[in-house]
């Protein structure tokens, strides 16, 4: 199927009232989640995963994907107006966006943020369409050793790029992989680590664990130190940037699109790293670097474009290879698997309606988001004024209903609460949770490919070094792991990239 006919298929599927509604619901909830500090896109997707199980695979992914890239738009609103980032990829926007707002230029800051996000998001969708087919065709030549190596690299890079101690991130990856072995072994049918419990025969559920680790633990952390928010009271006017704003922002937007897309494809990098690097690049290239940190519009345009470009790019390895590059894509992969759809190179031929439907929805979703974030920005300002003490119980209730609704098994509530408590304790000790959940998602795939590789090679580990792709990829992973465990490099990384998207 060529690109034009594929787009036709996609738009035909998405331009149905119900699909448009799911797309709008996703981007609306994503923007809301991005605006409100306290529940990031990962937590929101975990909450909405259970209700979407009853939808078609395409509708489910369209809605969940909308939450992801919608949060990139929404996060900048609270960064600019409150100086508190709504989600990790908008941290950098606080630096100049809030300063612009203090000088009475909140409107142009919000406007440029939304328009830059639109350009970045659209660029990444176009590039996704162009890249995914050749990559998928290449991936059809992959066997179990190649997939095993790529999954290892994905988890290793995510741990390496963590802002916390790398040795702790490595421990979380291993713990996630271990949790993934609980349940019935798919090859032998033997129960593993069930200890006589029928509940554990199906393994450790992704939904209760993810909701506990990201939803419940986040609430507990916020209970510890409730934040006071003061919102700028000036009326927001002149949402459209001036000609001078555009002249200064055009190049940062162009660079942010490319930089964000390239980083979004890489496992472990993503929107957060893209926004930080874009800011650093723009400051380095600017003729007026002294203005950065005091209200330079380039400091808003570049990073916001980059984080949206990265969010679209993250779909490339998921859809083409079946390997999620970050935790959000891991949840999307979990959603696809729950619907009986296996992401990867065969998805494009076996389920073109899902792939092209997602592409078309991303085009439409970006248009909806510009409308939501520009003329309707006043609505989000009102939302920001809702005190957290009212939001917190709502978030917890959504967690409870969400996890119960997925399985109608109250034991999942206990798993979620236990995961939440464990997540809170782990975070207090400086452990990050994204590597654990990504490993939980990828663990079964890793094991299957590893065992199949050994069966293929009749027990010889040489298969991982004699084939070029696994040899190179595993070599890189090994170097990164040794670096993580080395005393001099195992301490906290100076680059505050955050790890979760």
């Amino acid at each position: 199927m060529d690109i034009l006919s594929g787009l036709q298929t996609g738009f035909a599927a998405v331009l149905q009232p119900s699909m448009l509604l799911y797309c709008f619901a996703g981007v609306f909830i994503g923007t809301l989640v991005g605006v409100l500090p306290g529940l990031g896109p990962v937590g929101a997707m975990s909450l909405l995963l259970p209700p979407t199980i009853g939808l078609s695979p395409a509708a489910s992914i369209i809605m969940l994907a909308g939450i992801f890239y919608g949060a990139m738009y929404g996060g900048s609103t609270t960064s600019i107006l409150v100086n508190i980032p709504g989600e990790a990829a908008s941290v950098v926007t606080c630096l100049d966006g809030y300063q612009m707002a203090r000088r009475g230029r909140a409107g142009p800051a919000l406007g440029m943020s939304a328009l830059g996000s639109f350009v970045g998001g659209t660029f990444s969708v176009v590039a996704l369409m162009v890249l995914v087919f050749p990559l998928a065709e290449f991936a059809l030549k992959f066997g179990p050793p190649e997939y095993f190596a790529l999954i290892c690299l994905s988890m290793t890079v995510l741990s390496y790029l963590t802002s916390g101690a790398r040795s702790k991130a490595l421990l979380m990856v291993l713990l996630g992989l271990i949790l993934g072995t609980v349940g019935i072994d798919s090859v032998s049918g033997m129960p593993r680590f069930c200890f006589g419990s029928a509940f554990l025969l199906d393994g450790v559920g992704l939904i209760p664990v993810a909701m506990g680790l990201f939803g419940i633990s986040e609430v507990l952390v916020n209970l510890e130190s409730p934040e006071e928010r003061s919102i700028l009271n000036e009326r927001i006017t002149n949402l459209f940037p001036t000609l001078d704003d555009w002249k200064r922002s055009a190049a940062p937007i162009a660079r942010g699109s490319v930089l964000g897309f390239l980083l979004g494809i890489l496992p472990g990098a993503g929107a957060v790293m893209a926004s930080f690097l874009s800011y650093a690049v723009e400051k380095r290239l600017s003729k007026r670097p002294e203005e950065f940190g005091k209200g330079a519009i380039e400091g808003v345009a570049g990073p916001e474009t980059a984080n949206n470009a990265a969010s679209g790019a993250a779909f490339v390895p998921l859809l083409a290879l079946g390997i999620p590059p970050n935790i959000v894509m891991g949840l999307l992969m979990g959603a696809l698997v729950l619907h009986g759809v296996t992401p990867g190179p065969l998805l494009l031929t076996q389920h073109p309606e899902i792939f092209w439907g997602v592409i078309a929805s991303m085009y439409l979703g970006n248009v909806m988001l510009v409308i939501l974030n520009l003329p309707l920005v006043g609505m989000w300002v009102r939302v920001l004024r809702v005190p957290y003490k009212f939001l917190m119980p709502m978030i917890l209730l959504c967690c409870l209903i969400g996890v119960y609704g997925a399985s109608e098994n109250p034991a999942d509530i206990w798993v979620m609460v236990a995961s939440g408590a464990a997540g809170y304790v782990l975070r207090r000790f400086g452990y990050e949770l994204a590597p654990l959940v990504l490993a939980l998602v990828l663990g079964p795939l890793l094991e299957t490919n590893f065992r199949n590789s050994l069966t293929l090679s009749d027990g010889s580990f040489a298969i991982f070094v004699t084939r070029p792709i696994p040899a190179v990829v595993l070599g890189v992973s090994a170097v990164l792991v040794l670096t993580m465990l080395h005393p001099k490099t195992a301490k906290r990384s100076r680059l505050a990239v955050g790890s979760i998207e």
Partner: protein
């Protein structure tokens, strides 16, 4: 916001984290031994159900042991001790967790409406809503709203002791 949470650090004990690392080390050892002895690792050309857990157990043991050794090394001691500060709202956090666990126990026995209303009231109070009338009113409104909304979305919520409230 999904960002790494940096706990307060200062002078004091770091025993709690060493305890956690010791637990990780023990867990790794247990996994390796259990996988080898009970599950069976099979043969290299045909790995058994315990093969991967055994490998993971060994790696986990090594990673935890290395991290533990580094934490107790003399060089690390010279960096100054860190305190894992107790949270200021530990009681509130514990109350929220107990409330959520109780919700899981009572949900199917008492039903969604009867369980959710008091639990939400407790959560509102824990979150900082001091006036009981506001907490109770908000709880009631949220309970009814979510019951209707999720019922419409097809999420089957238990009716419990109020069978008249069941959907369908």
């Amino acid at each position: 916001m999904d960002t790494p949470y940096a706990p307060a650090e200062g002078k004091g004990r770091k025993t709690p984290h060493l305890f956690v690392l010791a637990v990780w080390t023990g867990l790794g050892a247990f996994l390796a031994i259990h996988s080898w002895g009970r599950l069976g690792v099979g043969q290299i050309r045909s790995p058994g159900p315990g093969f991967m857990p055994f490998l993971l157990g060994v790696l986990f043991f090594l990673a935890a042991a290395v991290t533990f050794a580094r934490e107790v090394s003399p060089r690390r001691q010279g960096e100054g001790e860190r305190k894992e500060a107790l949270p200021s709202n530990l009681g509130k956090i514990a109350a929220v967790l107990v409330t959520l666990l109780a919700y899981g126990v009572l949900l199917e026995r008492l039903g969604y409406v009867v369980t959710t209303f008091p639990v939400l009231a407790v959560l509102f109070f824990a979150a900082g809503v001091r006036r009981w009338a506001v907490a109770a009113g908000s709880s009631l409104a949220l309970t009814v709203l979510t019951y209707l909304l999720f019922g419409y979305l097809g999420v089957l919520l238990p009716s419990g002791i109020l069978p008249a409230l069941s959907f369908g």
